[in-house]
Symmetry: C2
Subunit: 371 residues, 2 copies
Amino acid sequence: MQFTVTATDGNARRGTIIFSRGEVETPAFMPVGTGGAVRTVAPEEVAESGARVILGNTFHLMLRPGTQVIKAHGTLHDFMHWSGPILTDSGGFQVWSLADSRNITEQGVTFRSPFDGSKVYLGPEESMSVQQDLGSDVVMVFDECTAYPTTYENAESSMNRSLRWARRCRDAHGGEDQALFGIAQGGIYPELRIRSLEALEEIGFDGYALGGLSVGEPTEQMHSVLEQITPQMPGGSPRYLMGVGRPEDILTGVRSGIDLFDCVLPTRNARNGWLYTRDGIVRLKNSANRTDTNPIEEDCRCPACISYSRSYLRHLFTTSESLGKRLCTLHNLWFFGALMEDIRGAVATGTLDSFSRAFLESYLGGGADVA
Amino acid sequence: MQFTVTATDGNARRGTIIFSRGEVETPAFMPVGTGGAVRTVAPEEVAESGARVILGNTFHLMLRPGTQVIKAHGTLHDFMHWSGPILTDSGGFQVWSLADSRNITEQGVTFRSPFDGSKVYLGPEESMSVQQDLGSDVVMVFDECTAYPTTYENAESSMNRSLRWARRCRDAHGGEDQALFGIAQGGIYPELRIRSLEALEEIGFDGYALGGLSVGEPTEQMHSVLEQITPQMPGGSPRYLMGVGRPEDILTGVRSGIDLFDCVLPTRNARNGWLYTRDGIVRLKNSANRTDTNPIEEDCRCPACISYSRSYLRHLFTTSESLGKRLCTLHNLWFFGALMEDIRGAVATGTLDSFSRAFLESYLGGGADVA
């Protein structure tokens, strides 16, 4: 993996990450393909939306279908027919989310599989091994997500555990062709975030991520952490904001210096009939769309807007026809693809400020209210 | 609509139907797009499978979204983005199928909408009006399906009612660009079928269909009716066997002189993970496929077989990922598309007998057992 910053605009960076499986222009958004598929769409459709790298979930894939099945195909890429780079998360966030059915110790996490109730163990070394089996282009360290809200002391001790696990991940990481990213924790406490970052940099990673954001804290708090911390992340490596997010969060992230984002919002919202437009969120199921022969968005070039009306798309939802979710997912992925392309253009031309202002005025002014 | 027979092989015919919206090579199979979509797939994917004409359902579309919504888009083609010809059934079979919630009189049928319980009336004139609104390229007469089993007397009186309704449809049919097909009824009684056909021919239609087959009668009985009746259908017009069927039924139909088929089997079976191959039906969910890195069918060029393994497709079903149903639907549509292409080639070269023998030996010998 090779990362180059090609332009800056304030703290924002325009760059390129070269993987053996292809180039990624940054800032970039990574659609989430949790269990070996970006839900409702085919990989070539994901690529057509402008996405060049997707995310896979260690937690889901190790349980279903299991790494043995994937390895029989080669890598996750071969299994799911995605030839571009794949970043896999470590499973840390998912096992932490299991709340009632997991037990976290210094060694690792024992949990009950939500699919068959079986007892499973996942620790730093196991996560590295699974991600090596998946053949991920970017491997994430196994970390402990810090809860929100929590005390400074709890955030500190959790952050320190994540650092100890990060060291074990670095030691266990074997893949020469696989980049390894560290994850800074520390909750909403800037001082902890900085200490986490400094310690990670000392261990040495190919990229650095901010974890444990967008987990319930107020937007202003998230944006405040971003603005304080991101500029202090190592400048020569990709910076990745995990699990974020909404267009307004992405803009704040980019403006503070983030290069990579991932989030389930465009795909999950699409399956619920919530569609991103420059004028805010369109709720497809609203009765006003029953007879509306216009596309979701007039000047959008996505497969849904080129060929179908809001009325028809709504009809597909009404009749439980999966083509509806697929077309809406494509629209939202194209919206995020176009947003990132516009952002990259604005950074390159030093016009990110005015682009952000104009975009947010239209987008938030249009009544967007989907969290 | 213009129909030309270009070759024959025994009773089998190879032909071309020219519609203003495109040419259809016959014998042809029409995928079913009940409610304005061929389930789980996009129209361009249907076309890529080799299908040139699809079927829409008057019953479903008049209830959801209603003809007013479709007319606001133009025709059903514009609504669902299918530019080729569309044949619509009359709604007769669907209201008849409602058994407990419909009342059939000489005038027409009153029934409860299965979607909202509202009382709806559909008769010959109403069916013609809806199909005109849909802009169908082929309009089917509104008929009464004859139950199986039933007495000769009941089959006769039902057949006569269908004839009276067929005359009313002919009188009410207004679309100059729309072909109108009559439907021969008469159950399993050849004499009634012949009388029905003769009376329909006297009224005069652009094509002739056999209705009320594959409704529960034994296969041999269906095939026997086909072999006795089809050769006596008007030779200068397309002959359409409604709601059929399985590959073996299609072969019998073609050999007796049928030109058009429609059936939900390839699409419905696909959504259940039942896949057509030259060696019979593959049940994707079988545990043997969990680790099978081979495609569904080695030499198949469909989008599922070109890019995905049985193991991956099975994984998509296991994880309730709709891409699985879509890819399996595509495979089955491609299978039917290839079968019809092979059949057309065999008729053209006078080799239908040997093709049928070889196909059935492999297909039925492979353990196919899906009804």
